[in-house]
């Protein structure tokens, strides 16, 4: 079962690399933004993976539970809480970027970053 964690880690790494490639090398601004989302989600998946425990239980301590057994078997709740916040922040950032992209498209009539963000606009 530990392979699940390894697979998730590899997936998160792939997300980040694909996202970086799209953000750096692709010209279309929407594709760039999708790439940036990939980076964000890769980081979130990485955090979630840290909390994973094979055959683990939900991290809620109920009366009657053996604390030692609970500590050894429960998933780690902290990364889950962190990721929840991170997703909200990521969504806000994405919304702002898409809104600016819409304005830039209306202004320049193009989605090419070379045309709308290039030095000729400086």
């Amino acid at each position: 079962m530990i392979n699940t964690q390894l697979a998730a880690l590899l997936t998160s790494g792939s997300f980040i690399i694909i996202g970086l490639y799209a953000a750096i090398f692709l010209d279309n601004i929407i594709k760039k933004i999708i790439g940036l989302s990939f980076i964000e989600e890769g980081a979130n998946l990485f955090l979630i993976t840290l909390a994973y425990r094979a055959d683990g239980i939900v991290p809620i301590f109920l009366s009657g539970m053996n604390p030692q057994w609970f500590a050894e078997n429960s998933a780690y709740p902290l990364p889950q809480a962190l990721v929840l916040t991170s997703i909200v922040i990521g969504a806000s950032t994405l919304a702002v970027m898409l809104a600016i992209a819409m304005v830039l498209y209306k202004k320049h009539g193009s989605l090419s970053t070379d045309e709308i963000l290039g030095d000729k606009n400086e």
Binding site: A23, L36, I39, A43, L50, P67, T85, S86, S92, I100
Partner: protein
């Protein structure tokens, strides 16, 4: 009065939400912004030093039942909730931050007939975010407010009238969307190693040798967090976009943007210093990027003809002094860095708002099209000149005091070359400032230059006057703040 500690974050957030709600009502927005801005500086003066545990979650050692089952576990000392720490450093910086915010809001109210509630929302959200970053002892909390402050900064730029504002905002957001997740991934690696995101807990684990300071994962976390820090403060390779942001915002907006950047620099910089101080080459890394910021920024400032971009580059270059203080890593250098940070907030606010009056009068920021403004605007010209002297480190102003401390700390540590570079950069900064000042105020007025309105709003003159008084008072009596910074750093090292 520890309950006042979270209020320094909560009040600006509530004010921001209300201002956004009353967006359409101009007088309500003006009155509410003014009242909140004038009340905020009082809170840090009233609050007691100490810690505040959100949700009442004190460190686990305060609970007997569950943890008594793990008597020798490190769990006993872990902080399970978000902790705010409030000491002398936080008090001084937050007090001055609120004063600068008040002056920026006052200038905005004075210069604009109609105030957007959304713009004020962004100002207050940015303010709340950096205060939270200063107070927080939780590195994930730092990340969250780091992301919020990026959006607030972008919003402040979008509120200006500059025709290229959307392009600059998009570039900043794209880079931020790379820098933010990098910071988050670095925090993830720390979490994987330590199991906590509380900075005190992480430092406890590192200092006690429970993890290897040179393990690849720990070094990787440093690299990622360092990358996020470079982006957030505008050190190379992000110095161009940062100065671009300053040049696209309104003058009062630029003053606030630079203030936010300095506070982010200090907050994340101190976290990096505390966590990674054990790695021998961290200081060298910070010094390298700081020197690069100083040299590249001043070189680019020399070639520019737009005074807003020049001041933007000078402001980014000045951040290099802070970095050198952090990189040297002694008690004196860190104290000097904090003092320099405070001085930079005051001086660059003065310059952004002071030179902003030129834009207000002439509607251009191209120094080649300007000249002779000393005849129209002598009072402001003199005030800007004093600001320039303070920036360059001319005695007896505040910039002189902090730069002398930084140079002294470099010499004490055995880095005379650093001291020489700092002196040289100060001289070039002074020359650059004189170039702009001469072009705008002293050279003959071009025939085609039209000055539409000779009256500078009284609120702008008042703001500049207060900032100059701060420069002089802190220059003559640096102990007013240096003792507080020194006490804080003493507890840190």
């Amino acid at each position: 009065m520890n309950d006042l500690i979270p209020l320094m974050v909560i009040i600006p957030i509530i004010a921001a939400i209300l201002l956004n709600l009353f967006n359409k009502n101009n007088s309500t927005v003006k009155i509410l912004s003014f009242v909140v801005a004038i009340v905020l500086p009082i809170i840090p003066l009233l609050a007691n030093y100490g810690t505040y545990y959100f949700g009442g979650h004190a460190p686990l050692t305060d609970y007997g039942t569950f943890l008594s089952l793990f008597p020798n576990s490190i769990l006993n000392t872990l902080h399970i909730g978000i902790t705010y720490s409030y000491g002398s450093m936080q008090q001084i910086l937050i007090f001055f931050l609120f004063i600068i915010a008040f002056l920026a809001i006052l200038t905005t109210i004075g210069e604009r007939k109609k105030i957007s509630g959304t713009y004020m929302f962004l100002m207050f959200m940015g303010l709340a975010s950096v205060v939270a970053m200063l107070l927080s002892d939780d590195i994930f909390h730092l990340y969250i407010f780091f992301e919020i402050v990026i959006i607030a900064q972008v919003g402040i730029v979008l509120a200006s009238n500059h025709k290229e504002k959307y392009e600059t905002a998009m570039k900043y957001m794209i880079l931020g969307s790379i820098g933010g997740p990098m910071l988050l991934t670095g925090i993830g690696f720390l979490l994987a190693l330590v199991g906590s995101v509380n900075i005190t807990d992480i430092v406890h684990v590192v200092k006690n040798g429970l993890i290897n300071s040179y393990s690849p994962i720990f070094l990787l976390s440093f690299g990622l967090i360092f990358f996020g820090w470079l982006y957030s403060v505008g050190l190379p390779p992000f110095h161009t976009i940062k100065s671009d942001m300053y040049s696209k915002a309104t003058p009062s907006g630029s003053a606030l943007l630079q203030t936010l950047s300095v506070i982010i620099f200090i907050s994340i910089g101190l976290a990096i210093f505390r966590i990674y101080n054990g790695i021998s080459y961290v200081g060298t890394f910070i010094i390298f990027f700081s020197l690069a910021a100083m040299i590249l920024s001043i070189s680019m400032a020399l070639t520019e003809t737009d005074f807003r971009r020049i001041i933007g580059f000078l402001a980014v270059g000045e951040l290099g002094y802070l970095g050198i203080g952090f990189g040297i890593g002694t008690k004196l250098s860190l104290t000097a860095a904090l003092f320099q940070g405070l001085n930079e907030i005051i001086i660059t606010a003065l310059l952004f708002i002071g030179f902003g009056t030129t834009l207000y009068l002439s509607k251009t920021s191209e120094i080649n099209k300007l000249g002779g403004l000393i005849e129209n605007n002598p009072k402001t010209g003199v005030m800007v000149l004093i600001g320039g002297f303070a920036l360059a480190g001319v005695p007896p102003l505040n910039g002189f005091q902090s730069k002398v401390m930084l140079i002294q700390s470099a010499l004490d540590k055995g880095f005379p070359e650093l001291a020489i570079i700092m002196i040289l950069i100060s001289i070039v900064t002074f020359m650059t400032f004189i170039k702009i000042f001469h072009s705008i105020y002293l050279k003959p007025k071009p025939k085609d230059l039209i000055i539409e309105d000779n009256k500078i709003p009284k609120s702008t003159t008042f703001t500049m006057g207060v900032l100059i008084i701060m420069c002089i008072v802190l220059g003559l009596m640096p102990s007013l703040v240096v003792n507080g910074f020194n006490a804080f750093i003493g507890g840190l090292i």
